[in-house]
Each structure stands twice: as C-alpha cells, then as structure tokens.
Assembly symmetry: D2
Homo-oligomer: 361 residues x 4
C-alpha cells in the first residue's frame, strides 16, 4: 500500500494541499554521506515554479524549500530527509465558483464521491502543486546518482509536442531546452508555438502536450522482473503525474505497426563496447536496462480549468454550467518537464539500489 | 519490493520457467466464502492457451490448472490459493541456437548481464509462459468481483490493431470477439487481417498489435491518490506484460492534441444517474474511477524471435547473426487479450478492497 | 521496505532528529470524515512530554503540535495528515562529550558503523524524541477507532515493574495511573517506588521497567495470518520503541512453564456472549483477536546515558571511558507508557482496516 | 500488506493446509549464482520432520521437498524458487471431533469468526505444518549467507527450558544439541527432561518451552532504524511462529531489573578488534547489529490439542466439552528449534541485502 508514498527502497512520501499552510515530502532510504544542500534542490524547484512566463499560471510562489532533517554537516546521514515548502500566494476567494460545482475533466467529482468530503480550495490535494514535492525528491535522487555513477549520468526532458504542433526530434538541442518558455528542444518551432499558445490562452481554452524524458549513462541490469520491471515502474511514475493519460517506452504505441525486423534493435560489439543499431526498445529489454538511453514519452491532457463554459452538475445533483476564472496554466504539460525528470531520477535510483541489493551484495 | 508479486491487498506471486517442470502462482488476500473451482479458471486459461489456431505458436500445452490450497468445500477460505500448471510440450533441442546468442529485441542480453546466469531454455523466466499464471489469478479476481458487484461488472478485451491494420471501433461487437482467431471486435476486417498475418508468417517475420480492454460496472471511487492511482496501477499492470511498450488511458497519447473543451467530459444528471457526454478520461479522473467505463489500450511489440536473420553478439562478446526457428507466435499481441483482461480484474479487485478499507470500514 | 514508515494501510512516517529544527510525521491511509483537532493530539503528547516531574529528563519541551495538511473544516479528508513539532530546548553544548565517544548500551557505535556518519547531537535520530511522532499518530488512530467502534474501545497502559520493584496487578486502577508520576496502576507501591527511583537517580544510575498495555473492546477477527498476525505486529510495534528488549503477549515467556490445561483458556457461552475463563492468550489466538482484552507487556532497559563512568572506545579506535552528564531520564520506561498506548492504537486500527478490506468488503 | 509473505527483499510466500494435497513456498529476491540443491534443503527439513522420536507427533511425513523453479544448472538464477512438499499421512477421520467444536487455546474459534469458513482438517492453515515451508526458505537463506559471509557465519538454536525445567547455559554444547531428542544444549539435564515429558504425555497433557537461537559472524550494521530494526523484525519473525507468546532479545524481559551500569555492555578494543565485556544487548544496539552474537529467546506455549477434557463451545453456540485424540506433540516447542533457526537466517539475509542496498551501493 502506498497511498502517498512512491518507491521501494528510495521512497518519498508527499503531503499537503494547494491552499493549506505548506506542502512537503519525506525522503527515506537515501544513501548516507552524499553532499546535498538546499540550493541543489532549489535549482530544480525553480524550473517547475509557477509564474515564470506568460505561458504558465500567474500564481506567485517562491517555492522556497527548507530541509528539516536527515542532513548533518552538509551530508545525508541515511535517515529521513524532511522538506517543507510554505504556500504563499493563496487567494481562496478565487475558489468560490468550484466550492459546490464539479469541474468537468477535473477530479472534483471523484474525490467527493470517494471520500464524501473535499478540500475545494485550489483543488486541495488534487492540485498539481503536490508535484513540487516530487521535484524536491528527484533533486536528491539526482545528487545520489551523480555521486554513484558519475557525470556520464544525465537526464533531460523536453516538450516534443504542444497541442497539435510537434517538433523535429532531429533538431533536439539539450542546451536550448532551458532557454525557452516551453522546454522545447527544437529552436525552429518556437515562434509558431508561441503564437499557437497565445491564441489558446486568448480563447480561454487550453491544450495538451507530449513530454519526452531521456536518461543516459544508466548502468545495464536495472529493473526487476516480473513485477518491478523498469518500464513498468517508469510508466507508473509518469502516469502518477497529474493529467497524464498515455505513456510510451521507446517506440511505444507505434511498436504495434512495426515488423519484428523493424522493431528489434540489432546488437554488435565495437571494441569492448556493446552497441545497438537502433533504440526502439527505449533502453529497456524484458524490463531491464540495456545500457542504451532510456526514452520515455508521456501525454499530458489539456488543463481542465478553463474559461470556456462547460456543462456540469453541482454537489446537490443539479445540472448547471461552469466557467473557471482563477489563475491556470494554458498548458500544464509545460511545467511537467521537471516533474518527469524528477520521477525518472527517483525510479532509476530506486532500481539502482534494488539491483545492488540482489545482485551485487 | 515486489519482484514477482503483483498487487497490494489482493496479491499474486508467480513462479516458473518456460521449460521447467511447472509454472504457477499463489493468490493471497482473496476474500473468503467465494465459490471457485478449477473450471472457472480453466475457461480463462483456455483463451490464452497456445496452439489454438495457425496464428499462434504451435507449442501444445493443455495448460491444465490444479488448485493446491485455499479452497475448502468449493469455497475460498481467505488463505492463499496455490495453483500449478505442469509444462508438457517441452522441446529443449529447439533452443541450442539461443544458448549462447542473444536474440535482438529479446531479454536474453539483459538477463545475462543482470544476473550473470540465464536459463536459456525457451527464454526461461523471460518467456510469456509466465502470463498463464496471471490469467489464473485474474480468473479468481473476476469471480470475486462478480460476487461482490454483480453481473453488471464486465471486462472485455480485444485486438483493435494488427500490425498496420486497424479496425473500426464503431463496429465493436462483444460477442464476435471470441468467435475469431484474433480477438477482433470488428467482423468487417477479419479477411484482410487473415491475409496480412499469413503473409507476415510466411515471410518469417512478425507484427505488433494494439489491445483494448474495457471494464463496465466499476463502482465510483476506486483508486487511491496520489501514488496508487487507478490509472497508474493499470498502466503498471499492462506494462508488466511481456512486449508491451505503450499504454493509453481513454484518449491516451491523443489527449495531447485536444483542447480543454474537447477533452474534458461534460457531466449531467439524468434522473438520479450521473452521466458524461464523452469518455476521454477513460473512466478515471484524478486517479479515481468515475463510474464510466474504464478504457485502456496498450501496444504489444512484434515477436522478437523471428526467422529473418538479424545481427547480434554471443555471450563471449563475438559479433554474429541469428535466425530463430522454434515455435513462435507471429503476433504475440493476440494472446495478450486474456492477459490484459486478467490484469484489469486484478487491479480493480485490489482497488475495490483498498477503497473499502479506507472509506467504507 | 519501511525504514521510517510503520503500518500497512494506516501508515505513519516519522522524521527528525533530537536537536534539529523540528520533528514530525505524516499519517497516511486515515479514513475520511473523522473529527480531529490539534487538542486531541496535544492531550496525548502531553502525557509523554519531558520535564513533567523529577523522575524524567529536565529538558523542557512544549511538544506543541501543528497540523499542516489532511484536515479540512475540522475533519479528515482521507489525504495525508502532516504534523510538525518544533524543537525548543536544544542545548548542543551538552553533547561535546559524546561527539567522538560511543556510549555503551547506546546506538552511537552501530549508527556510526552502519552509516559512516552520525548526528551526535542529542543522539540525533537515535533519540527517543522520535517517539513524540508516534504518540501524535496514535492520537489520530485512537480518534478513528473511537468513531468506528465506539466508547467501549479503550486502551490503557501502565508501568507494572520499576527496576527490581513490581506491583500487584490485582490493585490495578485505571484512574490512578494518570495521577502519579510513574503511570503506576497500584497505589500501594508508590511510596517505595519513589524512594527507589530517587536513590537510583542520586547514584547517577538508571533502571529498567516493564510496561503493560491493555486494549478492550477490540472486535473479534482482527489479525491476518500467517505473516501479519496481530501479535506479530504488536510485538514488532513494541520492539521498535527505543530500549525495548522483550515482549510478552498474555502469559508471554511464562507460557513455557504451563501445561496445556493450565494455559488454554476455556470457552463458554453466557446468553449470547462468548466468554473465556482466563486470558493466558492475551486476547489473541492464531494471530487473530478473540474479543478478549488484548494484553501486551514489554521490558524497557535502563537508560544508557548515565553519570556512572563506563569503559568504551572513541571513533578513532582508542580505549577510553565516559560519564554522561546532560539531562536524562533515570527510567526511560516511564515515558514509554503513552508510546505503548499509541502503538497499540495504530496496530489495531491498521488491522481493523485490513480485516474489513478482506472480510467485510 | 503481507498476509502470507515474509520479508522485504528476500521474501518468501507460503501456502497450503495441513490436510490438503501439498504445502509449499515461493522464495523471491534470492541473489543469483548461489549453488543450492534439494539435499541442502532436505537436511534442514529433516530436523523439523514429525515422527522422529516418542516426544513428537506420530504423524509420518517424509517432508520430501521438490524444487520447481529458480535453479538452473544447480545455481540460483535470481528468479523465484518454488518448492513443494506433498502431504502423505493424512488421516482426516481423526478430525471429526473438531469439525464443529473449537479447541480452547487453538485458533479454531478465531479463524471461524474471522472468515466465516474454516478448513477444520488438521487445523487447515492454522496447523504448524506451514512451518515446513519456512524451514525450506531458511535453508536457502543459510546457503546464501554462507556464500556471502563465509563459514564464520553460524546459527544455532536449542531448547533451554522444557516446561518447568530449565538447563544450565554454561553447559551449552553446540554439538550435543543435534544428538538428543530435545535439541537440548546441556547434557546434564536430559534424563530428567525425558522423565518429565513422558509423564506429561502419559497424563494426556502438554507443556511449553523456551527456545534460544544464536547467530554468530553477523556483520556490523545490519538493521534499518526506525521501523525495520533488526530486533523488531526478529521479534516479528519469532512471534509469527505458531504458539509463540514471548520474545526476548539479549537480556530481554530481565533487562527491566537491571541498572544502567549492569545492563550496558562496556566496549573496548583489543588489537584492531572491537569487543564487548558482556552481551545484554543480544548483539543489537538501536536496532542495528553490533558484531556481537545475536541472541534471541522465545517462549512456545503448550500444545492446545490435549487429551485432558476441556470446556468449550461448538460452532452453533452450544456449551460443550472436548478431548482431542489425534496425533499431537506433547511439546511443540521442541520442533520449533529448526523453525527459529530458519527465521533467523531469513531475517539476517533480508537485512544484509537491505543494508547493502542503502549503504554499500
């Protein structure tokens, strides 16, 4: 059971509501003697922070993290690392509209039906604000992996599709990703993406996105068949992110259309190195990492809180309609990039520890 | 940790290799006083059984299940249900080819690298033969859910795409699915599918497929946010099936291309019933079931054991090539239908119990 | 894996060090719609609070709890309840002595050897200060159980032996327990206990204790054989408390000396009620609650931080000796009473939910 | 949740009823490349086997184990090891007496109340026959630990008290233990123990026992505070054995009577080795192994199935009495010795892997 805990050995537990006093997480199972400070975590949090461009929500949050335990003299002690982020820009008046009405596409209805009670302020626990905690946990996982594996270990995420607009993966440029408001890896599409998203915003609408996350330098052998396969846990991790509806490993859904010889990645040795001629597998075979880059893509549905009026019901069972004002991202997918990276770090570290437990003890 | 165990309250543990004496599973956490017999399980196993048409492997296995514990006087006692299926048609001579060579696209290479040892006979533990155990576990979950929820509860899976050929979901016919060799729901495409797969087979190749599984009659409120979301666990379940590379919930990857108003399913009440105008959500909002049909699709990559010669290396590091004879499915995706159904049953039962634990105690 | 998490469905995760900024815990899996406020928790915390009599440590801590999430409008929402307690009376200068020396009987040596790093201030994570978090979690479990089962549900703990001095269980008086500094249930021994403990304190020494915890009103059927037996989980819970070295269920270790007819509790019906002639079983048969009072006792070893000089080594491997000044309880066992009660509440609630999941869904 | 599974990384799941066709277990998480064969396991099973002396049940069972998976070419592959033991000497007619009556002290009543159904034959799942599976799992853990740690790793269990009769631990002789019917470590008491147990048997009664298990050569640092402490998991392991009512680590319950200076084990270095002047801690400090011998004792209550007539009720609620004939051990504690050893192996291996995962990766 893991209602609010993710992971097996390296585990994090998140807590907190959008408009409560604070959110936070407790990271457990972290190896000792790893140098970590608040800045390491803040750097990652800043990537996800709202209010950074006209393309994200205008809610202003510093997302300033405080470490409350588990670090001594700048190093992890192997005991739980508790982190807290205070909520600042809480405007509860914005949420009178949704107090009694269920936003279509949102979890208002199902939370209410499940629990019989619902913190409606800013979506309460449903809010994507929870993901800040994951980014904090991911920052720790990243530091551990860089310490254990070295600098060849690297995770990069990007938005590869914005609504109906794709980009050309051949133009993928790691450095460009952090230099634009979309985490887009392809410079050539930025202008059109900007126009498109502004028009979406203007229309009081929203759009979906596809995020791709790539990990390189991952050791061979991570992944525990049958029911802790690396791809299974990655799919699970990404699907746990708010609004995600689909996950692809390597060629993903497209694998259905390939023949055996198109799909299976041929293997060869060059010097002492084992190489593959292609990477349809997305770096995972039989649930175990092959040493190739791990490549995962996931689709984020369009924000459900939109200005456009939609039909719905209220908690008393009456038919009604809703138009959500508040401050919302026109494309929540954009801010999902650092979250996807964080989840990738956490899953890889978890499997790294798991693999060593069974196979390298 | 759950190397070979799936589930949280309703849990099953599978064991066994393709060419060992037997395979089996232990089902734990099953509610007591549910009538179950071997026939209930055999019916489901027979759907997955190899050698049933020219479109699947010619390996002949009865897949006859024996219940060894947990049932008393025809009813579950709440104690673990152990089931065993003996392997019959084991031809180890077929596997000399792959003893030292790694099949591209297969887990030969990663298992060897992970464990330093590999049961190469029929793929050992990597073999999809393991999935028979899941089908057995799923048969039990199905019986429990039918007992608890009643006959309105129903799960149906089908192949909706075979290689490059799709079908028309508007022609979906539950009854037709079991009457053709492809678990295809659309009668109109059968002829062309047959021709296509025979040509694939003849070419010594293989193809992928997309499977869709639909569950109706699922109660509202199942799913435990944040880290046991129903869609997260379903994605995890399907991704754990051999050769699966992508998973969609509802509109899935396609959600990226929709606008907020296209995607969010409007809600209305008709009489005392709550209804939705569409089902892009695939029956799940915020990780919790909404009462709509749960719809999940997953892509199965083409069989990696093909006759077509492919470049690879052997376990000594030498470059070589391989052509796999043996008996293999030209499209493993077909036999994934009952497996997908089984996993759906297991996840839903698990969440049904979990939900009652927290919210209905 | 559960390094810092306890429980299966009702779970709590604790964090924090003795001399860090704060300690706290996250309670997960709590049923929704239960009225809980900070006062409910504070009442329990106050029982464990240090500095309340001359028989406990003189460290002054308010142990004021803040709830940061999971409660909305005074009720649980089913989402994680995060609680924080700030550390106030932190005198790090007291701990220079133990910075490099390992206190015999303490975990200084093993923490250092395990992790290669150690927060020595006040024992860091080893400190019994962590138990405040458990008491907070237990307060929530108590409220839930009182809501579900009603007022017949009751848990009472007491010190039944202080060092070499026992008490007479026949004189057990629930109300008296909270009226003396020892949580002693027998008024007749108080005077001698006081004298004894003052002499221990004066000598710069410490003594052990036995704590008994009784739960009444527990429903029949809680406990999940084989590996989540109620007694197994209770033993585990109590053994997890700092300094506990032995656990008895019912007649406990003494059961070894009984014959079958002395030990087995005869059963009879009186009216519609099932009764037992004795309670050697401590309310648990085959790992399942029988409806009798659950009775568990555990031994707390004497405080290891004593003024008496003891031989030890330092972290550089040199032989040396140590005399610990600081502020320490002459008998830590006393403050273990509310902790034992808290763990009893948590285990019973966890099994209550677990039982309903499998058997009452 | 772990109804029938024990362990965290090295996990075993047991299944089967006393009078069903077979019992067995699935061992998961075992490191690869360890040489194991059926004889290794049989040797341990033979120690627990019934019918070996006049002091144990006369049920005749070979307890012949078959390995069904997870071993390839004589070595573990890292995949689940399934083992099966067929039941042979099943005389169900013996159990008509207990079909409708609840044996006092037995789990008949609580199983029936919990599940509403009960396999009464030989106690069904309640039967201590389940422990054969643990011994099989323990045999595997032992082999792994001998491989990893070397021959200095050793676990020895013995009966140190039989009913009212103790033995002198100073006479403890490892070799003598296997040479007498009681697993007694002290030759000097054998004669009187024999007489005593024969008289108990003749009287149609039974008696309890205390078992002590010692592990030497255990590395420093095993045990994961706070909620996977080594002593916590050992207590849990021993308490899960049928009929166990109390558990002591080191000085155990007796620690309550000691002063701080009596109890805390002084530390010193001799050459490069760290030594302790005593072992009241039982080899565990703060839940972590110290390198000293781990010493655990547990009490097994007297067999509840006795010839002496006892008052009870039947399943229809009527008051009645019972005298159990069948074939029962006059002291089940004796056969608990190999079970206690097995659980010790399993817990130590589990923590060995866990420790390496977090601290040696």
């Amino acid at each position: 059971m893991s209602f609010n805990t993710f992971g097996k050995i390296f585990r994090f537990t998140t807590w907190g509501e959008s408009h409560g006093p604070a959110i936070g997480c407790v990271v457990d199972g972290c190896p000792p003697n790893i140098s970590i400070n608040e800045t390491d975590i803040q750097i990652e949090l800043n990537k996800r922070k709202p209010g950074q461009s006209k393309f994200t929500t205008q809610r202003k949050e510093d997302d300033k993290v405080n470490i409350l335990s588990g670090i001594f003299g700048g190093k992890t002690t192997g005991t739980p690392i508790s982190m807290i982020i205070y909520n600042k820009d809480v405007r509860s008046r914005d949420y009178e509209t949704i107090k009694n009405k269920f936003r279509p596409g949102h979890a208002d209805y199902t939370y209410f039906k499940k629990y019989g009670i619902r913190d409606f302020k800013g979506g309460g626990r449903q809010s994507a604000r929870e993901t800040a905690s994951r980014v904090a946990a991911g920052a720790i996982a990243k530091k551990v992996l860089e310490n254990k594996i070295g600098k060849k270990y690297k995770v990069v995420g990007a938005v590869t599709q914005l609504g109906i607009l794709g980009c050309d993966e051949k133009n993928w440029n790691d450095k460009f990703i952090s230099k634009n408001s979309f985490f887009c890896p392809d410079k050539s599409v930025i202008k059109i993406w900007e126009k498109y998203l502004l028009s979406i915003r203007k229309a009081g609408s929203s759009c979906g996105a596809i995020i791709q996350v790539r990990a390189s330098g991952v050791p061979i052998g991570l992944g525990a068949p049958i029911y802790s396969k690396l791809d299974m846990d990655l799919a699970s991790a990404m699907m746990s992110i708010n609004a995600v509806k689909g996950v692809n490993i390597g060629s993903g859904m497209n694998a259905a259309q390939l023949t055996g010889e198109q799909n299976s990645d041929e293997i060869y040795n060059k010097g002492k190195k084992t190489r593959f001629k292609s990477n349809n597998a997305g770096g995972i075979l039989g649930g175990i990492s092959s040493g190739q880059d791990i490549i995962i893509s996931f689709a984020v549905k369009p924000t459900s809180s939109i200005l456009v009026t939609r039909k719905t019901i209220d908690k008393f069972g009456k038919n009604t309609s809703i138009s959500v004002k508040g401050r919302h991202d026109p494309c929540v997918g954009i801010r999902a990039v650092p979250i996807g990276e964080a989840m990738m770090h956490c899953v890889i570290l978890d499997h790294y520890l798991m693999h060593n437990a069974q196979c390298n003890s």
